[in-house]
């Protein structure tokens, strides 16, 4: 019997966790002599108070949706993919190669090709850890972490020695050609005669991310493959009994997971930087873990959690840029949110369950 209603589990628990995280953050801000209310105001106004803020919040959220979904798919197969960082970095390489190799006449042609490149490279980067786990039992957490480092080193080599235009100081690829530039959300709004989010990086990839949420939901809960992934994730013995091959599911789930992480590159590499820079992923792969945890590994939850982290990123960025709150503190706030919503989840859940059970007994 469920200990508390679903809505409380899905909405109330994260909200209380969030409130606790903000309360402690407020104490820290107070301790360094700033006003938490002012700080919150800067964050909310900077991230949500204008179309400009939303333009950035949605841009960050798009990254987190992709990496959050990547963690989610692997999680349902009982695999903890910590390699989103490396897979997204390799996805960026895939995008860069596709866009630099072919003189695309229009973004609408370039985008599907870039998506294939991104997904393929991300998936391939997840394939080796998946294979090692399935065949050799090497723990996927260890191997995917290792592959983050290998991806960083590989990308560094490729950018410094192969893709960097001669004479450029910057370890980055050449800029992609003008026709491949994705329409920004601001351009699209302008098409409807609306002035919205001028000079913000949110772009058409956001809609791809929304579509990805829907597709992942269909995959996990509506397809035979999703059924097998979930069954395997819950019980490997059970999967064997049911004729589900652990090797096959491990590899497929990780390929999908890696592809989703790789797809992030259409947002940050193709949509924002419009070239491949060295540090393009910037920890979004790791944020994806927190997003998936907080989103209860449900695509819709991932969407909401990604928006929250987009807000934290943009709001935190505003705080660091325009106030005297040191940027290290922003990291502290983000870490507290991760800690409370992810790691300390049970701290809130258990007392809440007790309250609901007590209420129910009284009502009964």
């Amino acid at each position: 019997m469920d200990r508390m209603p679903k809505w409380a589990d899905v909405i109330l628990t994260p909200l209380i966790s969030l409130a606790l995280a903000f309360a402690i953050s407020a104490l820290v801000i107070l301790a360094i002599g700033e006003s938490p209310i002012e700080a919150l105001k800067v964050m909310v106004e900077g991230a949500l108070g204008s179309s400009y803020g939303w333009g950035f919040t949605l841009y960050y959220a798009t990254n987190f949706i992709f990496t959050g979904l990547a963690v989610t798919v692997a999680y349902h197969a009982g695999l903890f993919n910590i390699g989103g960082e490396g897979q997204a970095a390799m996805g960026g390489l895939g995008v860069a190669l596709v866009l630099l190799a072919v003189p695309w006449p229009h973004w609408a042609l370039a985008l599907p090709a870039a998506m294939i490149g991104a997904a393929l490279f991300g998936a391939l980067w997840a394939l080796i850890p998946a294979w090692l786990q399935a065949r050799r039992g090497s723990h996927i957490v260890i191997t995917t972490i290792m592959f983050n480092f290998i991806a960083a080193a590989l990308l560094n080599y490729v950018l410094v020695n192969l893709l960097r235009p001669v004479g450029s100081m910057d370890p980055a690829s050449a800029s992609f050609a003008e026709p491949t530039h994705l329409p920004k959300l601001s351009d699209m709004a302008l098409g409807f005669g609306m002035e919205w989010g001028k000079n913000t990086p949110a772009n058409v990839s956001f809609f791809v991310a929304l579509a990805a949420c829907l597709l992942v939901w269909l995959l996990i809960w509506r397809t035979k493959l999703g059924f097998e992934i979930r069954a395997f994730g819950k019980s490997e013995r059970g999967a064997l009994y049911a004729g589900i091959s652990p090797v096959r599911i491990t590899v497929i789930a990780m390929l999908i997971s890696g592809a989703l992480a790789g797809l992030m590159a259409i947002n940050n590499v193709m949509g924002e930087a419009e070239r491949l820079v060295l540090n393009a992923v910037e920890g979004a792969g790791f944020i994806g873990i927190a997003v998936a945890l907080m989103g209860r590994n449900h695509p819709f939850g991932v969407l909401l959690a990604a928006l929250l982290f987009g807000f934290l990123y943009q709001g935190g960025g505003e705080l660091a840029l325009w106030t005297s709150v040191p940027r290290e503190l922003i990291v502290v706030i983000q870490a507290l949110v991760i800690l409370f919503t992810g790691a300390l989840d049970n701290m809130v859940r258990m007392p809440l369950e007790r309250i609901f059970m007590a209420l129910r007994r009284k009502g009964a």
Binding site: M1, D2, R3, L218, R222, T223, K224, F227, E228, R230, A231, K234, S235, R237, G238, L240, Y241, A242, G243, I244, S245, M357, R360, R361, A364
Partner: protein, 537 residues
């Protein structure tokens, strides 16, 4: 060690007054009254989910009752945790032993009861104490043996020793015979009688009516969280107890017509299997299972039955080496390189030994579990997606047909009782009308009502001309259902008997690896097996 509190004469060892405990809307214990007299063996019997485990967990301090009172030796007590329970003189032997496998017997016995910072004084004191207990109660175990090297029966003795070392006056045993051979169970009962005669009080939780009748002095019956009766064992009968448990009349014997065996459905020839660790699990199995018969495989758990079922079911352990030949309806069946899905398509249904780990995904809803293993069946697909309405409809039909309660296909498997979980698995496998049904431990942890139902279904399948391979460690069940009995020991078939000819003693010998009538045991019988009959003698 604290001194035992003063016990007024004539007070019961344990008295419970109006104990209630609820988990959310589920009332696990409702106003339980229980008196257990000192120096008796008191049985507690009830179906799964009747509330026995909850009640014992309350006694051992795992749960706190919502209301009610506990008296130990006439003194009211609040048991807040297991330490309080131990101090009050309660010892618990769990169904799943709580021993540290790579510690010695001695270390396990003193674990948690060490006095002082240094181990050595505790160890030497414990060694003397252990010696005394061993000779007093027939509890011989080598104090320096590693627990992982001990047989299950001996591990259980260590658990009892642990409780006695903590000066337990009241010993609670939860389903203690589930893992034992008949001889080991007999030995355990002798130990328990010895303890009772020394004045200890023993509470025995079991679902086996035979054991209740054999060893207890008094018995209390639980049903749906309530204590429905407490009677003196000598004044009751198994039939009466069964009725009290279920709340209606039950048939303890399975009624069945004589079998009409047809052609062999499955032929097993020279099946050998060496597992990934290099241990030979199957040493040449030959079996024929005919249409219209139930072949029962008896044996103590861990003698290769699991491996046999897994190979036949199409999912042998990874890395195992397998030899031999299988023929299904005359056609060769690949030994390896196949999977469980292919076996199902070939017409083999399989109710696995462990429904919670294999047969069901506990977090899945009942309707998803009804598709489990058959999820790629064409009638469950609709284009790219699974046809949820078709699966739900199918599940609803099976749930009604098998009287699964509650009849709600949306409920997660873990929220059903053991018997209803098993009904879901059996419904899934039997309703597909397989040519061969593999069924392992069909009624383990299943209440009597459901046992009756599942047994009837197995016989119905047999009568429809299908073959059934039944693996069970419950000898009673094998005797009741099987048309032929094969006994497995150490990876081979020790012998075949017809149920009408077989006796428990005869089968018990085979289960222990002894060919009846032979003086010297057969070649290569491991020493572990040898001392069983020696002790039983």
């Amino acid at each position: 060690m604290t001194a035992q509190p003063e016990v007024p004469d004539g007070a019961p060892a344990i008295e419970l007054r109006g104990i209630s405990k609820a988990f959310g809307p589920v009332q696990a214990n409702k106003g339980i009254d229980l008196r257990v007299s000192r120096g008796t063996i008191h049985g507690i019997i009830g179906e799964n989910g009747a509330g026995k485990s909850t009640l014992m967990s309350i006694l051992y301090g795992f749960y706190r009752p919502d209301s009610g009172e506990i008296l130990i030796g006439g003194n009211p007590i609040t048991i807040t945790d297991s330490q309080t329970a131990i101090r009050a003189g309660i010892g618990m032997v769990f169904q799943h032993f709580k021993l540290v496998q790579n510690f010695t017997v001695l270390e396990n016995v003193i674990l948690g009861a060490e006095d002082g910072r240094l181990l050595r004084p505790s160890l030497s004191r414990a060694r003397g104490e252990l010696k005394r207990l061993a000779s007093e109660y027939e509890l011989q175990v080598d104090p320096d043996a590693l627990v992982e090297d001990l047989s299950v029966g001996h591990q259980q003795r260590v658990e009892i020793l642990k409780a006695l070392y903590r000066q337990a006056d009241i010993l609670i045993l939860d389903e203690p015979t589930g893992v034992l051979t008949p001889a080991e169970a007999d030995h355990l009962f002798r130990i328990l009688r010895g303890l009772r005669d020394e004045g200890k009080t023993i509470i025995l939780i079991t679902h086996k009516l035979r054991e209740i009748m054999e060893i207890t002095d008094n018995v209390s019956v639980m049903r749906r969280g309530e204590m429905v009766a407490s009677v003196t064992t000598s004044e009751t009968s198994p039939t009466q107890l069964a009725e009290l448990m279920v709340g209606r009349k039950v048939l303890l014997r399975v009624e069945k017509a004589p079998a009409q065996p047809g052609a062999p459905v499955l032929e097993v020839r020279g099946l050998r299997m060496v597992d990934a660790a290099g241990v030979e699990r199957l040493r040449g199995i030959d079996l024929d299972i005919r249409a219209g018969e139930v072949l029962g495989i008896a044996g103590v758990a861990g003698n290769g039955q699991t491996q046999l079922l897994e190979i036949l079911g199409g999912y042998p352990e990874a890395g195992a080496k397998i030899e031999g030949a299988l023929r299904l309806k005359g056609q060769p069946l690949p030994l390896t390189g196949s999977d469980a899905g292919a076996r199902r398509k070939a017409g083999i249904g399989h109710v696995p030994e462990d429904r919670q780990v294999e047969g069901l995904i506990m977090d899945f809803s009942a309707w998803e579990n009804v598709a489990f293993g058959y999820h790629d069946a064409p009638e469950f697909q609709s284009g790219w997606l699974m046809d949820q309405s078709a699966i739900r409809a199918d599940a609803q039909a099976k749930i009604e047909h098998f009287d699964v309660r509650p009849p709600n296909p949306e409920l997660a498997a873990k929220n059903f009782s053991g018997g209803n979980q098993q009904k879901i698995v059996v419904a899934r496998e039997v309703e597909r009308n397989p040519d061969l049904l593999l069924i392992g431990q069909p009624t383990r942890g299943v209440d009597i009502g459901a046992i009756e139902f599942i047994h009837k279904r197995i016989i119905a399948l047999r009568d429809a001309g299908k073959a059934v391979l039944l693996v069970s460690v419950e000898l009673d069940e094998i005797m009741a259902l099987a048309d032929r009995i094969a006994v497995m020991f150490d990876g081979r078939i020790m012998g075949e008997r017809l149920p009408e000819e077989a006796t428990t003693a005869d089968l018990g010998c085979l289960m222990a690896g002894i060919e009846p009538g032979t003086i010297a045991p057969q070649d290569a019988i491991p020493p572990a097996a040898l001392h069983v009959p020696a002790e039983g003698a």
